[in-house]
Symmetry: C2
Subunit: 305 residues, 2 copies
């Protein structure tokens, strides 16, 4: 990987689908480019990317496309998987493509697994990749994965693989946990999983945030990142928090895609893969009202073109 | 698929690994053959098979091996997946191989998804396969998948796809739910997810059981299936329940593999993929005592050869 992610704002890039529910490279690249133009890094293959709804071949194809068309130093693909060979294959492809790092879910099918087993999973991947360019950001998202990454596990991984274990995305929603991660570990970049915690994260010494709503509100979030020491930082934080809470009244992934569809006059952007469902007409109307009342920079046809 | 599974006892076949943690076809086929010799059907790629720890390519390879070497009419592979294309590909391979049916997990990454989304997932698979030989057994295992299959969802799927939706495996551990599934639906085979519920399931009109411990105690479980109306059926049930509870004191998958290793003098059978962990020496010793005290037919070198 070319360089370590140096903190900032990243978006788990939503994945558009064509009429046959295949990933739509053209719409996807346009959205990626718009995000980059807003100083937003690309955490492709995140939870909000429906990454686990994509086959390994589909993820490999999109990764190859991104690495060819975009700056790989701005890419942090999600490469965790339930199956060790899948995680190894996608991680190796990311390293070989020069990605800045990878965001790695734990294997998430079995619940209540011991930390020893999770340590073995990450160890096996690191040893099989065997490449000092590898930078792993652990992905702690217990509300979805139901498999937490404990502080003790992080400590053990950092002791065994310093330099390779580069940081964490904390999507627990539990600020005390985020604060503990920042406090306890050195040379370890802690990203909040929501911009709601961006300012507290930066003030505590964290690295930034990787957040769903950065798909549609990246500029304002980046402003908080840049101006976190400014006198009006709290007011800026309040504004992005209020925006996020407006969106979070809807199912997040369908809502993000619907907003992009609304602002690019391209309602087909709203397609999702099952088990997710598109917003229905009533929800779309309500969402449009939320968006109309918000003051934010949106992906438009001009920017995305 | 050649024929509908007609009820009985099936085992989610545990998957042995070689020293590089690759699926070991030779050990696997030997275990499959021994299970068949004990009148036990082969629910390959179940939870206890570490199926979600295998890549799609590994599952396809094992399926092809099984279909060539064994009677496909005794195979019920697990083909559910988080990603629609994976579920479609493996299900199509199962249908084309003549498997008796498929056991299908819901997509299990996202939690709290609407029944509409799960209906859409199964619908999309059925329509893409487009083959009247397809027989789907729904896999309800909320303690692990965390994505339940509701009675209302089953009703809707049965109404839309009669003949294709063939049954369910209920691994909820909630007898009231199993009883409701049997009571509410016609032409729908309900398999208990544990032999602990085998006799109640059969008495209520269910089809049988698909159970982890059938990997190591298939004959006694099959005896209950065959003799469920016999005067001593309750005593037989008590014996298999007691055996299961002895094994369930240990982590189930490592314990099953360890037992096979003990009885075939092949300790390497005990290998698991992370995030699971092999039993340690203390657990192995305790497990060996449980097994020595039990009266049951085990996979031995002679039977498996």
């Amino acid at each position: 990987m070319t360089k370590k992610i140096s903190g900032g704002v990243l978006s788990p890039v939503v994945t558009p689908f064509d009429a046959e529910l295949r990933p739509d490279r053209t719409r996807w690249l346009a959205h990626c480019r718009w995000l980059l133009s807003q100083d937003c890094g690309l955490a492709i293959f995140g939870t909000n990317s429906e990454a686990n709804s994509l086959s390994l071949a589909e993820r490999r194809d999109l990764l190859e496309t991104a690495a060819q068309e975009l700056d790989p130093g701005r890419l942090m693909p999600g490469t965790g998987a339930c199956a060790l060979p899948d995680a190894v294959e996608l991680t190796r492809a990311a390293v070989d493509s020069g990605c800045a790092g990878v965001l790695m879910l734990p294997p998430f099918y079995y619940k209540g697994v011991p930390d020893d087993g999770l340590f073995a999973f990450y160890s096996e991947i690191i040893q099989r990749i065997g490449d000092e360019r590898l930078r792993i950001y652990l992905y702690h998202i217990p509300p979805v994965s139901q498999v937490p990454i404990s502080l003790d596990l992080i400590e053990r991984l950092l002791a065994e693989y310093p330099g390779t274990i580069a940081g964490v995305k904390d999507s627990s929603g539990d600020w005390a946990n985020t604060a503990a991660m920042i406090e306890r570990f050195d040379d370890f970049d802690v990203f909040a999983g929501s911009e709601e915690f961006l300012l507290p994260t930066l003030r505590a010494g964290g690295a930034g945030c990787i957040s769903a709503t950065a798909n549609i509100n990246p500029a304002a979030i980046h402003d908080v990142f840049v101006n976190w020491e400014a006198p009006d930082a709290d007011a800026r934080q309040e504004a992005i928090t209020a925006f996020r809470r407006g969106i979070a009244k809807f199912p997040m992934i369908p809502a993000l895609k619907a907003v992009i569809g609304l602002r690019t006059d391209d309602p087909d952007w709203g397609r999702v893969r099952p088990p997710l469902m598109r917003l229905d007409e009533a929800a779309l109307t309500a969402l449009a009202q939320v968006i109309d009342q918000a003051d934010f920079q949106m992906p438009g046809r001009r920017e995305a073109a």
